[in-house]
């Protein structure tokens, strides 16, 4: 049964969906290569993880890995450039360095993942900027505390919950009951909740505030520093003032100098206080990132990622020349100072000067710590490279010989050099860090190429499918390409390919997710599954090409195009190609807006031209326009209503553009949305959203006219649902009831009521369609049973299988009574029985989708839902013209070409509304809040789904609107399926083309400066948008299937009851 129900899926009607799945598989392989799932150590480390043996000699870890109780101060100065650490800016600190009391390192911060916006108006785009800032800081703090670099995926996966879940020295300190104190940027408090004994967070966003942010930190110092024996082990201070000055005035601002002096004074204060304490105190000063000469940061340039790191100790610091370290080295260093195990994912190395004890690097304890450090990194290396690879590396050999020297030295019977051991550990660590950091930025070229190849192969295949779909002479001939629908062998072959592909991709995903250490999974499965996939795809291609080979002739016929069509095709091809410039990824909406306006102008001009032509010919009494009533009516209607409507539509779109400024370069500009959401304009916003909701209701009701559901009931339900949306917005106080004010409800209840209403709508639809089917079948059966004189009548039954138009001949005994037998009459004249069901169902579904989208959209964006419906309607109407009929090049091909144009138009519209809504290709523009609507608890899949629906409102609605239009236009099931097939072929081809172009572009630009800030987010957006395209296509398919299933169920039960000739009414195939 299940197989039977799934069979329509693999039928070629939906082959475009299938190929899109293949391409998606290829894209996943590509992503796997582009974002290698990183080794994160995974677990939190514990004392048991410390090595207990060096070579063969057992040691007591707890005795050796200790540090005399040390008090540590970590002072992070935001945006501290390397050249600020000079005598001019920080005389006291520079003096310490000069005197050998402190040592200065050149630390390398990690290039950020998210760029800072070009903020000019700080008030308007606060939220977005705050988010980007948080991500940058998140990354810096992540590196400093966990000792491992976060890659893009870490940031993306941490989206929403900002707390660091990986092991960090703060986590270790908390676990081992060290006391921590924190003052400064409150991001730390969000990243490490409940980790600090005392803390005071400062909001980081008031950029114009240069002094308060820092005074707010410094004011706690006297209290913390004055006791003779402070109760904390580690104090973290994070100063923001310098960063703020940098953003607003640049590094050469006169305000920098006093600010640095202020910082210097803080250093002096801490140093002076620490002298009074009996315990050793270590002060570490560092910047989290640098600053460009223009004052901003967010790139990967030298002045932005090289920051100073100063280490002061009471006992002094021997080498004063600056040596280079990494930001991630802080994590093991601080762990060591706190005497807690290194964080599990740490790949940094402990700062050398910390380990010296009275100038002696070679104590047992120091050497043991070095060994611990080296061992952890070696383990990480083995996990990353695999055992065999790792053993070949020089650093591993160095490590082995270091261990040998170490063991020999510990063994009283042997003579080993501790100096040699220490040196070897160091150089091994240095060499390893190269591999450990490299593995994170390294791309898996094999997977990338494989992914691109897969997409390419499926794309080629899809192109052929599309050509055949559009080329086939007319609908009756089209089933030629579906030979293998009937041919079992080939169907099986395809099924096999599908199975192979699915299993291969599953394997890859499982291997990747489980992060097994087996080298089999690391290398072989990937390559095996890749090979399997290629074979499967090639086999599929072979089958498809074999089947359509015969059908490719006279391609040129279809392609007599007018200006609109040419531009649609050219634009669709050019648009993905513009991704080659990163600005066009950031400003993708500009391309869409531009192309859209152009195509609307072209349509306007073209329609005007056709109308002028027509009226000129009419006035000249040309024969081709004479006596054509329908043509004349059509032309009059177009001239009087459609053309002006089109102009109004263009204006509407110009307005929608101003609703949300998006992108990067001009995102700061004020827009209508900003103006509407101002507190003083809430009255206008409320009226605006009410108007939008009313127009949504109007459109919904308009849709209802072709449904089977009782009209009034449905109206009431729709109004109820809309009311719920309105009340929800009122209770969360984003709008209010005009001239009344807010309401006080639990907003989650309202949302629940909304869902109940939606559910009722769906149930009523199912129920009434069931009724309808039963009624129809009864009438048919009664006609049959009534028949007294069985004259054999042959009629062409509807096509009961998806795809194949096998005109099955049913020999039905009965009268040819077209008025009473619905099935008979409907075949060529009226709306067919199935299409009636489809029409009702699709309209109800579109209504539901519109309401659901309205629930998620922000009040000022509610207007988008009716706008997209209106746009779709007018576009469909203006493309439906048979204008070409008065042109000399006209041939009977218009319906197919209409589908082609409409599909491209709707794809464009989807993207257009996606950007109207304020989305962009930056993760910062995703509205996280929409994910939590109506939820009491944190349920990630639901949140992701809601966020997805909200973000892709435009594409989802536009594709369903087109689907609905195709359903409305076609009154016969076969024709409808052909139209849908044509539609899906284009959608699928377009998506694959975008994927193909973008994967190629991003693999070429993989070393581009903006790879993490611009290119990678776009990859994620492509992923989700492909996912949603597939989901919508799947839903369309399910729709068609449900009608069939329902019919089949009803008929089978009916035929059992009424003992009639059930064999003649064979609904199965």
């Amino acid at each position: 049964m299940l197989v039977e129900m799934l069979l329509p899926v693999v039928r070629l009607q939906w082959v475009s969906l299938l190929t899109l799945y293949f391409a998606f598989g290829g894209f996943i392989i590509f992503l796997y290569g582009f974002f290698p799932l990183k080794y994160h150590g995974g677990s939190d480390s514990a004392w048991e993880d410390l090595p207990t043996k060096i070579g063969d000699i057992g040691v007591d870890a707890k005795k050796l890995y200790v540090r005399n109780h040390t008090r540590t101060v970590l002072m992070v100065i935001d945006a501290l450039r390397y050249d600020f650490m000079s005598e001019k800016y920080m005389p006291y600190t520079a003096g310490l360095i000069k005197d050998g009391k402190a040592c200065l390192y050149k630390a390398q911060a990690e290039p950020p993942t998210v760029t800072m916006p070009r903020i000019k108006s700080t008030v308007l785009k606060q939220d977005k900027a705050q988010w980007r800032r948080t991500v940058n800081l998140w990354r810096d703090v992540f590196a400093m505390t966990t000792g491992s670099i976060s890659n893009f995926i870490d940031v993306a996966l941490n989206f929403g919950s900002s707390a660091v879940t990986e092991d960090s020295f703060i986590n270790q300190a908390k676990y081992n009951k060290r006391t921590l104190v924190f003052y400064g940027d409150d991001t730390w408090l969000r990243l490490f909740p409940n980790s600090f004994m005392r803390s005071d967070g400062t909001t980081s966003f008031y950029v114009s505030d240069f002094t308060e942010v820092d005074l707010n930190v410094t004011r706690h110092l006297p209290k913390e520093l004055s006791p003779a024996k402070p109760d904390w082990d580690l104090m973290i201070l994070h100063y923001l003032g310098l960063d703020h000055i940098g953003h607003l005035e640049g590094p050469s601002s006169p305000k920098v100098f006093p600010k640095m002096l202020e910082m210097d004074n803080v250093v002096e204060m801490i140093m002076n206080a620490s002298r009074k304490w009996d315990e050793e105190t270590i002060l570490i000063i560092c910047g989290d990132h640098g600053m460009k000469d223009s004052g901003s940061h967010g790139g990967a340039s030298h002045s932005e990622i090289i920051v100073p790191l100063v280490l002061t100790q009471n006992k002094g610091c021997s080498p004063t020349h600056p040596s280079e370290v990494d930001q991630i080295d802080l994590a093991p260093t601080l762990s060591y100072l706190l005497s807690v195990p290194f964080p599990g994912g740490s790949t940094g190395q402990i700062l050398p000067q910390i380990l010296t004890k009275n100038g002696d690097l070679l104590s047992k304890e120091s050497l043991y710590t070095l060994h611990y450090n080296a061992k952890m990194n070696v383990d990480a290396l083995i996990k990353i490279l695999g055992e065999e690879e790792a053993y070949k590396k020089e650093c591993y050999k160095q490590y082995l010989s270091a261990v040998k020297h170490h063991a020999d030295w510990l063994d009283p019977t042997k003579t080993g050099s501790s100096k040699m051991a220490a040196g070897l550990y160091r150089s091994s660590l240095n060499n390893m860090s190269h591999y450990l950091t490299k593995s994170i930025v390294e791309f898996d070229m094999f997977a990338i190429v494989l992914g691109i190849f897969t997409i390419f192969a499926t794309f080629l295949c899809q192109i052929l499918i599309t050509i055949v779909t559009y080329k086939s002479e007319d609908d009756t001939n089209s089933n030629k390409m579906y030979h293998f629908n009937r041919s079992n062998l080939q169907t099986r072959l395809i099924m096999m390919c599908v199975a192979v592909c699915i299993s291969c991709s599953l394997f890859t995903v499982v291997c990747g997710v489980s992060q097994t250490e087996s080298s089999l999974c690391k290398v072989n499965i990937v390559s095996l599954s890749g090979a399997g996939m290629i074979i499967a795809i090639l086999a599929t291609n072979f089958v498809i090409i074999r089947n359509i080979r015969n059908n490719i002739k006279n391609i040129g016929e279809m392609w007599i195009l007018n200006a609109i069509e040419v531009f649609l095709i050219v634009g669709t091809i050019v648009q993905p190609v513009t991704y080659g410039g990163t600005s066009f990824i950031e400003e993708e909406h500009q391309i869409w807006y531009f192309f859209w306006t152009t195509v609307t102008f072209l349509t306007l001009a073209y329609t005007a031209k056709v109308l002028l032509d027509y009226y000129r010919k009419k006035s000249e009494n040309a024969t081709e326009v004479q006596d054509k009533e329908s043509l004349s009516a059509k032309m009059d209607k177009t001239a009087k209503t459609l053309w002006p409507q089109w102009m109004l539509l263009m204006m509407l779109h110009r307005f929608l553009r101003t609703l949300n400024q998006t992108g990067d370069k001009w995102a700061f500009l004020p827009d209508a949305g900003d103006w509407l959401t101002k507190d003083e304009n809430i009255e206008i916003l409320s009226l605006f959203s009410i108007a939008a909701l009313f127009s949504t209701i109007a459109i919904c009701q308009n849709n209802l006219q072709t449904t089977l559901i009782p009209y009034k009931t449905n109206c009431v339900l729709i109004i109820a649902a809309t009311l719920c949306i309105f009340l929800y917005r009122v209770t969360i106080q984003s709008i209010h009831i005009p001239f009344y004010g807010y309401l006080d409800f639990n907003e989650n209840y309202i949302v629940r009521v909304f869902w109940v209403v939606i559910l009722i709508i769906i149930l009523i639809e199912i129920w009434s369609s069931k009724q309808y089917i039963e009624k129809e079948i009864k009438s048919v059966v009664s006609v049959e049973s009534r028949s007294s004189n069985p004259t054999k009548v042959t009629y062409v039954g509807e096509n009961y299988a998806f795809g194949a138009k096998n005109h099955q001949k049913y020999n039905v005994p009965g009268q040819v009574d077209s008025s009473s037998s619905f099935l008979l009459s409907s075949i060529h004249t009226e709306v067919s029985f199935r299409m009636k069901l489809m029409k009702s169902r699709t309209n109800v579904f579109i209504n539901v989708m519109m309401l659901v989208c309205s629930l998620y959209l922000r009040p000022h964006n509610l207007i988008l839902v009716p706008s997209i419906c209106i746009t779709s309607k007018i576009v469909n109407r203006i493309l439906d013209h048979k204008f070409d009929s008065i042109l000399p090049t006209y041939k009977e091909k218009s319906s197919r070409k209409n589908v082609f144009c409409k599909t491209l138009f709707h794809i464009w519209m989807g993207s257009l509304f996606y950007f109207y809504q304020g989305n962009s290709n930056s993760l910062a523009s995703v509205d996280i809040g929409s994910g939590y609507i109506g939820l009491d608890s944190y349920i990630p899949p639901v949140i992701a789904l809601q966020m997805g629906i909200h973000t892709y409102t435009g594409p989802i609605l536009s594709s369903f609107l087109l689907f609905g239009n195709l359903v409305q236009e076609n009154n016969q099931w076969d024709k409808f399926l052909v139209r849908i097939k044509e539609n899906l072929a284009i959608v699928s081809t377009h998506r694959m083309f975008v994927l193909l172009v973008y994967t190629i572009v991003s693999s070429i630009l993989r070393y581009h400066l903006f790879v993490w800030t611009v290119i990678s987010p776009k990859l994620l957006f492509e992923f989700t948008s492909t996912f949603f395209t597939m989901a919508t296509m799947l839903i369309m398919m399910v729709f068609c299937c449900t009608v069939l299933w329902q019919e089949r169920l009803a008929s089978s039960s009916k035929t059992k009851n009424v003992k009639t000739k059930s064999d003649t009414r064979n609904f199965e195939d």
Partner: protein, 237 residues
């Protein structure tokens, strides 16, 4: 036979004026751009301060018209049979007033179109106005003066084919290539190079001028055989 010969003569005359016009435009438009960029005023293209650019172009176009109108007429063209042909080239007073109304309307129409394409509505109307002025001068103005208002409308809507009429074909080509150049120029605006000349509407103005120049160059190249023939004939005498 007679009309064919006559057509050839008219054709020749119009070809000569077309060649002259193209050469003039080919000289003026790039010269203006070069001058502006030398004086570092390229980014000023959208302001009233650079009004001399459209003015110069206006002048050049008028000069072309004067040249075309002042050509000595071939004597036997004065035959009464030919009012239809002459209408296309002859300038009339009624047409002049029509133009006076039509041209400002075109500026307005361009303005609206530019706003629909995304030009700022409230802030930068000066820039948008300058671009629409420039576009009118480059596209509508020449065809209005050479052919009159009604043929211009036909060109714009593309509702009539002008096969055979060299002047009209050339005008049509100028209009479409200039508009296409403007369209292409807009591509440079979103790029993140942060150059002063990326400001609205400079890339579009430059695109329009480039399209205009290119179109005239194309015309001149097309006319090369004719010119060569003419020169050869002149040297013969």
């Amino acid at each position: 036979m007679w009309t064919g010969n006559l057509n050839a003569v008219v054709e020749q005359k119009s070809r000569a004026s077309i060649a002259f016009g193209s050469a003039l435009s080919l000289a003026v438009a790039p010269l203006l751009v070069v001058l502006l960029s030398l004086r570092d005023e390229l980014q000023e293209l959208g302001h009233y301060s650079s009004a001399h650019v459209p003015l110069a172009l206006l002048l050049a176009e008028s000069l072309k018209f004067v040249f075309a109108a002042a050509r000595p007429e071939v004597p036997y063209l004065k035959d009464a049979k030919l009012p239809k042909i002459r209408k296309a080239t002859k300038f009339r007073l009624r047409d002049f007033f029509k133009c006076l109304i039509f041209l400002p309307t075109c500026v307005g129409a361009y303005f609206v179109a530019l706003v629909l394409f995304g030009a700022p509505i409230i802030n930068q109307y000066e820039e948008t106005f300058m671009l629409s002025l420039l576009l009118t001068i480059l596209t509508i103005f020449p065809s209005c003066f050479h052919a009159g208002v009604d043929p211009t409308m036909s060109i714009l809507t593309g509702s009539r084919k002008f096969s055979g009429d060299k002047t009209m074909e050339t005008l049509q080509q100028h209009i479409f290539l200039t508009l296409f150049g403007t369209w292409c120029g807009a591509i440079a605006i979103p790029l993140d190079w942060d150059r002063p000349w990326q400001a609205w509407p400079v890339p579009c103005c430059l695109g329009a001028l480039a399209g205009y120049t290119f179109s005239h160059m194309l015309t001149l190249i097309k006319l090369l055989p004719f010119l060569a023939m003419r020169i050869a004939r002149k040297t013969k005498y």
